[in-house]
């Protein structure tokens, strides 16, 4: 019996030793997995953005966009994320929505800015989408939906523009699965904390959206695609409970008000359209 146990330990040990030994080799580099994934993601990002851009009006004016850039910069700098890597797009659209596209494209609708009550709420949503980008959730969601082979074939010209449009719609109007949403929320809270931005307003926004969701308010895409807003607000509060942040303002009151009124005018214009 003793010998059986000893031989079992030896055999199991041999298995784990082989596994450990083989794991010392950098297979990811050897098979160029990361490089191949990055190239695919870049091509997809360009493709998706090009098509999305054709149908939506982007606000490029630095004067209008500056406060949004300031919020993004504050979060990125505090969390050692290269701001240059993030392609932030402000889109004229009354829908309350923000979403991430492959290759670090972060799309924010004017309707969303209009729905936020302060810069901290907006920072929370940007942090949440940034977390999806940084945790590679966008590619995971796409791979899960259509498979890697279809995505690769899209980058090489396969797959028509209609199917790409469908995927953009899928990315912009459906939530990630519950685990990924929670991961992004928690990461967003950590981003905010590092940037000395209070996470409570982000929870307030979610809570408010959850309330309004029941009232079936038009254009409420972000809340309706992110279900259980109230539950999310609760765990954001729970996670940030011990953080005790004073909260450093990002924008002055007047800059925020000015930004909001400009965006409000644009959104009203798109609503009329």
């Amino acid at each position: 019996m003793k010998k059986i146990a000893l031989q079992f330990i030896l055999l199991t040990g041999l298995f784990f030793a082989t596994w450990f030994g083989l794991s010392r080799i950098d297979w990811m580099k050897l098979f160029r997995i990361n490089k191949a994934t990055a190239t695919t993601e870049k091509k997809l990002g360009d493709l998706f953005w090009e098509l999305y851009h054709q149908e939506h009006r982007e606000i490029k004016s630095k004067k209008i966009k500056a406060p949004l850039d300031s919020i993004l910069n504050r979060i990125c700098e505090a969390n050692h994320i290269d701001t240059a890597d993030i392609k932030l797009h402000l889109i004229e659209n009354a829908e309350i929505n923000a979403f991430a596209l492959p290759d670090n494209h972060l799309v924010v609708h004017t309707g969303l800015i209009n729905a936020t009550e302060n810069e901290e709420e907006l920072a929370g949503i940007i942090g949440h989408e940034l977390a999806h980008l940084q945790s590679r959730h966008v590619m995971k969601k796409l791979v899960k939906e259509v498979g890697l082979s279809v995505l690769i074939s899209m980058t090489t010209g396969g797959g028509g523009s209609e199917s790409i449009k469908e995927l953009i719609k899928f990315l912009s109007s459906t939530a990630y699965d519950r685990t990924l949403e929670k991961e992004a929320d928690i990461k967003a809270v950590e981003y905010l904390a590092a940037a000395d931005i209070r996470p409570e307003p982000f929870a307030d926004f979610l809570f408010r959206m959850g309330e309004e969701e029941g009232n079936a308010v038009q254009y409420l895409t972000w809340a309706s695609t992110h279900p259980d807003s109230k539950e999310r607000a609760e765990y954001i509060i729970a996670h940030s409970k011990d953080m005790k942040l004073a909260g450093q303002p990002i924008l002055s009151d007047s800059t925020w008000q000015q930004f909001k009124s400009r965006i409000g005018e644009i959104t009203a214009g798109t609503e009329e359209e």
């Binding site: 019996m1 010998k3 059986i4 031989q7 079992f8 030896l10 055999l11 298995f15 082989t18 596994w19 083989l22 794991s23 080799i25 950098d26 297979w27 990811m28 098979f31 997995i33 590679r136 995971k140 899960k144 699965d177 685990t179 990924l180």
Partner: protein
């Protein structure tokens, strides 16, 4: 790892054939159920149950074949579900995953070669014992 050992008696032609078949069962199942590791185990188990009242030589080799398949099941199932979670869930390909797959492939290949060798030898009536599995089989399977 695999050694030829003396057996308590010289098996007959018929016994040698049956013992050899127990190993061949797992090889045939490899072709049929490569993606689902449980198939190999089921095939060997059916053969084991069918021969549990056979002669000592046949029973012994059916048990050794079954036990080896049983441990492969754990290893292969982990590889199978890990792959499934990469394809359909949120897991991503990592160095640890690739090295695990190579380790499992290496062990499966060794087992595969070992099985062919043992099938050939036991067909000739030669008694072959595997490292660990041989001793474990002696512990479980006693002459009636």
């Amino acid at each position: 790892m695999i050694s030829v050992q003396p057996f308590s008696y010289a098996p007959s032609e018929h016994e040698a054939e049956k013992a050899s078949n127990s190993y061949l069962m797992s090889l045939i199942a490899v072709i049929a159920g490569l993606p689902l590791p449980i198939i190999n185990l089921i095939a060997t188990l059916i053969f084991y149950i069918g021969n549990r009242k056979g002669t000592y030589f046949v029973r012994w080799h059916c048990t050794q074949a079954l036990l080896s398949q049983f441990s492969m099941l754990f290893m292969n199932s982990a590889a199978f579900w890990w792959t499934v979670s990469i394809l359909f869930r949120n897991e991503s390909v990592s160095n640890l995953y690739i090295s695990y797959i190579f380790t499992v492939l290496l062990f499966n290949l060794t087992e595969f070669i070992g099985t062919i060798y043992t099938a050939i030898q036991s067909r000739k009536g030669i008694h072959v014992e595997w490292f660990f599995y041989g001793r474990l089989t002696h512990f479980i399977c006693k002459p009636s």
